[in-house]
Symmetry: D2
Subunit: 423 residues, 4 copies
């Protein structure tokens, strides 16, 4: 029998895998195949995926365009594992990325492949910022999420995840993200005040690291003027600005980079998740050429040259980023979600909505409700997850390529689930 | 024209990629295809690969057995990206790993997928050790290499790589690796003395992290009795023992785990590199069940469920680890290398050799010589790299599956290169 | 010739003493004798001392009451150096302190003698707070000053002084002191928000350390309601409250402890400077009995039992703190200063005043002016110093026992100096 | 009734003073007067003091020479508290110290008064070493004791005292003190090896801090050749050498500085304890002029100018250090102790002795014995204390000025106590 038609007993996971596992607890079934926005479990049941690999599957599962290229590459014995050797697959990716992504946006970045995950990209960004400036301290924001390795974890807000470090996480100071006080306080009032004040006790920062939309933090959206003001503040004070675009990049908010709309040019940018376009591990750290002070080999990583990911990533760029049609689609579908969520927010008390492009949150005053809505949606065949410090937000990250019909279907399931839970 | 038959200009890499790149400087050509122990560049020239992705390609490039399974899986729309959802591909991997690898060796480990790289596995191991013990300090060894993210880097010896952190790396204290003093000093004399002495100033350690053979550190081989003594020391003093088997596991030294020969059972084990068997990113952190104190989601990672890697990894286990034939092969080929290297050591002054299984080093008193030998070998079509604190060691990590003819051919190239350089 | 009638050449100091010296640069003369509020230099010139040893001489120089007791004690071969042995001098001090200071105020504190300086007292307080709570992080306030040893320095705001550490100062996070935003922002808005938010990234604090009036920080006065709110916040959230009363205690603000007026009872209190009443080194760390978790000898210090200081300290308590007459005097003289300063603030633009009791600041918008005023005053025979992050405040700390005539004389000198500098 | 003839109830201390108190537990009585080597309690009982304020009373209690000068100074209203203002008392001290102590020894040090305790002096030394070198890490030695504030504590060995920090103590790495392995291991073998090895994982140190004899650590005596080798090692490798002479300076080992005999010139030296000669708090940090990179006020301290201590300290220098008679006396009396201790070591099994000058230890294999001997001696009217990681050493620090009769009397008490306890 074919592998994908076999079954696996639940006990395989519960007995042998660590208690650290999480998503499989929310979605208690065994999945086997997937295509586009749909996943199938071993009983043949289909699920509409509104989580998209936490933003790693912006083009859906197993998109046929990349799939064909990937099969060709593997069949033809293209190099799979290449450390940081020069390869055709890597060269073509760099060409596509510089010509189709960077150049048209007026971005002149050097590219580092720091290891194939978001946290590798963030660690490289922090190391570089500290090396360039000779300072140790980093400014992060409330409810930020940047990764699980020690450097990234120290700039991450979630207290449960921080506790996992087992050592005090230092060298980072949180500042209020946009709208942290509900708009009643001046933006950067506290941040600028302590920077100005030589007696404030704040260690002078090497860099600020920011997400334009905090996905894990609860779909908190920074306004464009806030991002611009942050960028200007950093420039004025000789602090490097790192935009962590691991989850919000690759079109999630509409444009390729989530910061484009604000018209800013960060000093350092991290990308991962959807950059391979197929769910294959890959990550990039981008930075202005004058910051490229690395010594050869000073940061490395066994899987930094994941060549199959270069192949699918290149296809993604060629296919989706040669014009602005995907961007337009994202804005339209984002509006479709927004409309549905706004209706819910108007219909029920204790619900609000926020988001940008195709990352949208349905926020519940009563935080337990969000999990119940997701559980109900799972029962109806929809995969959605919560986020936020108290898991109070139903977070939607559908594939950008989802059909409007499927999108509508999923939104209806959510609407029904809300009704079931709080109606 | 097919992707793999295209050319890429050198300037793509030199202009756009960060100065941090390293291997592509030693091997200045553009590779395109690879199979078994051979890589081909865009000019059609073939290279015999004695580096095997720094130990990530123990079964050679694009091994046809795993390749077939991988193509099937992708063609059939098997799940590519699965976070930590339960999937058939993952379930089958866990089954194979527990039944064919762990059970026969009497190892009862829980499995964590901490993110798909070695450094993720090490970070998870360190976090867990600290959480379990409530202590912060880790003992590492001179010339250790464990990774580039902040936690792993703090237990890594190389001063150039440490400097890249940009912050003081603390919470770790180095101890002398086996034979650090050329055998004249009692094993663990210093380590035990400072543990015994409540006035020594050593913070009580949560764990010891050790490689059985230090690959990056210069092919330093720990004796079995040293490893046993270390294990006993840790047990006696309630310190957790972490064996980082990222490079030396998966058969590199003969047995699946490099610590088997010593008869020890570490508390925590890390695996990555060759665990997928195909060069696809995957990593495991294994630990005794009583250490599984993780809270759900306390450590996570977007690509921790790299399903194609599960598929090839499962095939690897089924094909190579159902009997001891590969282990025997590794010992035999290891001896073949050893014989060749011993001859060189006897023929020339200032050369010695060390190693275990199929990780072998040719050590040059004059450290610059090692790089010259590798450069000469590259000219003759062989890929080999140096290691050690002064890059004084030519380190051999051929595919375990290399034919004895190819192995002999490569050893001849090295012999010729040594002659050319110092002859 | 008598010692005190001899001269010393300036070069003794400039050639042999470190560049770190500071006050002797502002007041470039060689002092020899002192009495009450007056210091005399080797030329016989007299200076009115409005700095009082940075608050160490609340009862003036060489107060005859303590002087007599001190001379008796020394003449009679009372123990000078007693480590932490039980001595009559220490016992009498403890009796006086508990009966006349603590008991009437309803304070039930255990007393620790942690070493004879303020920074010793602060270090002990921080260590104890961390030990009791098992947490590492401390909340300090903008423009705080707590001392120069590493623990105290990490909770001190001044960036120049922090830079002297030579290592990154971590484990402390600054919060805005009262009125940091000119009253436009809600008290503790930021602090409570990040404590409430489990995703804020703030490490949960062991303790808050606060001065009721920040002397070094620029005579920043916390309002009573702010102190009460802080105390309630700490109690509500199980965070220890440390009041550093090293400079503001011993009657500087009127009552013995500066926090009495607010009606709060801190968990830990530090005292030093004027506690011996004679300028002799002595320090106390006070804490609630349930916090006394020290192991014998866990914190020690060679000079923690400075017995001559106990003798003068006891006299101080008996003489000055048996009724409320000194408190009343302080309030009256404080008002005298305030009146004079308010007049200046009204007469000149760019000047304001703030303070409490007998710590008062004259604040100059143009920061360089403050130093010029002090220099001019020195020329006229008055010792006063600046404070604040930009040295923009003329800080007055006269002896509490100064006569109203001398106080008036000094205020006139300041008034004249202001006129000279900015008039 | 005179203060010194009054009694104090035990409960004053047990009820009101913190549990942290220590010496008063070993010597459970209330002391009142002291003179020379004798202390008297409130019952009139006299005790022979062989501890001398842990080395703070090298010239005995209340030495009449300094006493007279002190009484004169106080009577004459000499300045008591002077911050770091230039005063006659301070100037005369600097003159005496540079002319009589530094110049004759060929030492050209700048003098810093960093606050009046040993730990202040050490903190200033560490800060300066880090500032000068731009490095963070410090090398300390096993069983070192340098103080209780966070910087000093991080280079202190005792695990109980370290635990009091409540935070992980980092930035310091212990190395084996002389004879740590009983002479079987090459001096500095481990230290030099890890410095040589760029892959060792040791952070490059700013400085080494060392005591020539570790008093608290158990009277561990460094050989002169070991100290010279350490000094050469530091010079060769551009690491600053700090000698902490807080306890062993001021003649304790014979010469004024304990490092003189080795013929070395440390980069930085700390002094405190006996520098005032009368038990008054005072401390000095000395350093080579080229290291004087302090910014004015970058390190300060309220009691750094303890003028009465300058007065007695100056007298000490004039009286005791104008010729080598005290040095000779110390050597002779040291020999007297050594003879007595050697006899005990020869008479009883499980006893050995070590020491230098007038710091001598009687070392018991059975560690509990040492405390019993001290308790027995206290019963017989002698004050002596234990030291060492297990309190296994009876440590003798008599006044350097003790008469040979008193010395003999005390040694007899110890001999009797040993006999009583183990005989």
């Amino acid at each position: 029998m074919e592998l994908l038609d076999q079954t696996v007993d639940d006990s395989v996971f519960t007995q042998h895998e660590s208690e650290v596992r999480s998503y499989c607890r929310s979605w208690p079934t065994v999945f086997t195949r997937a295509s586009g926005s749909w996943m199938t479990d071993t009983t043949g049941r289909e699920y509409l995926d509104f989580f998209a690999g936490a933003g790693s599957l912006n083009y859906g599962h197993n998109n046929p365009i990349m799939k064909a290229a990937l099969l060709d590459y593997i069949s033809d014995d293209g190099i799979t594992h290449g450390l940081d050797m020069a390869t055709v697959a890597k060269g073509k990716f760099i060409e596509a990325f510089t010509q189709k992504i960077l150049a048209p946006r007026g971005l002149d970045y050097k590219i580092q492949f720091p290891g194939p995950t978001g946290t590798n990209a963030v660690e490289a960004a922090l190391k570089l910022a500290r090396k360039v400036t000779g300072r140790e301290s980093i400014i992060s924001f409330t409810n930020a999420f940047h990764g699980m390795t020690l450097g990234s974890l120290s700039v991450t807000g979630n207290s449960m995840k921080r506790a996992g470090a087992g050592i005090p996480l230092v060298h980072a100071t949180p500042m209020p993200f946009d709208n942290y006080f509900g708009g009643v306080t001046e933006d950067f009032g506290w941040f600028e005040r302590v920077l100005d004040d030589s007696g404030s006790g704040l260690n002078r920062p090497a860099a600020v690291i920011v997400e334009t939309v905090q996905g894990e933090g609860g779909v908190n959206v920074a306004r464009m003027e806030w991002l611009r003001a942050l960028s200007e503040l950093c420039e004025r004070r000789d602090i490097l600005l790192i935009v962590d675009d691991v989850q919000m990049g690759c079109g999630r908010t509409g444009e390729f980079f989530s910061f484009e709309e604000a018209g800013i040019k960060p000093d350092i940018v991290t990308l991962s998740k959807s950059i391979s376009g197929y769910g294959l591990p890959l990550a990039l750290t981008l930075f202005k050429p004058e910051l490229d002070v690395w010594t050869p080999g000073e940061h490395n990583g066994t899987f930094r040259g994941n060549n199959p990911a270069f192949v699918t990533g290149t296809k993604t760029i060629e296919h989706f980023w040669s014009d602005d049609s995907l961007t337009k689609e994202v804005h339209a579908k984002g509006e479709q979600i927004n409309t549905a969520f706004t209706e819910l927010a108007e219909r029920y008390e204790g619900i609000s909505t926020r988001g940008r492009g195709m990352v949208r949150g349905l926020v519940f005053e009563e935080s337990a409700t969000a999990s119940k809505v997701c559980a109900s949606a799972f029962g109806a065949g929809l995969l959605a997850e919560t986020s936020g410090p108290s898991d109070e937000v139903v977070k939607l990250l559908p594939a950008l390529t989802i059909s409007t019909e499927d999108l509508g279907r999923g939104l209806q399931i959510i609407s029904d689930s809300v009704k079931e839970v709080i109606g």
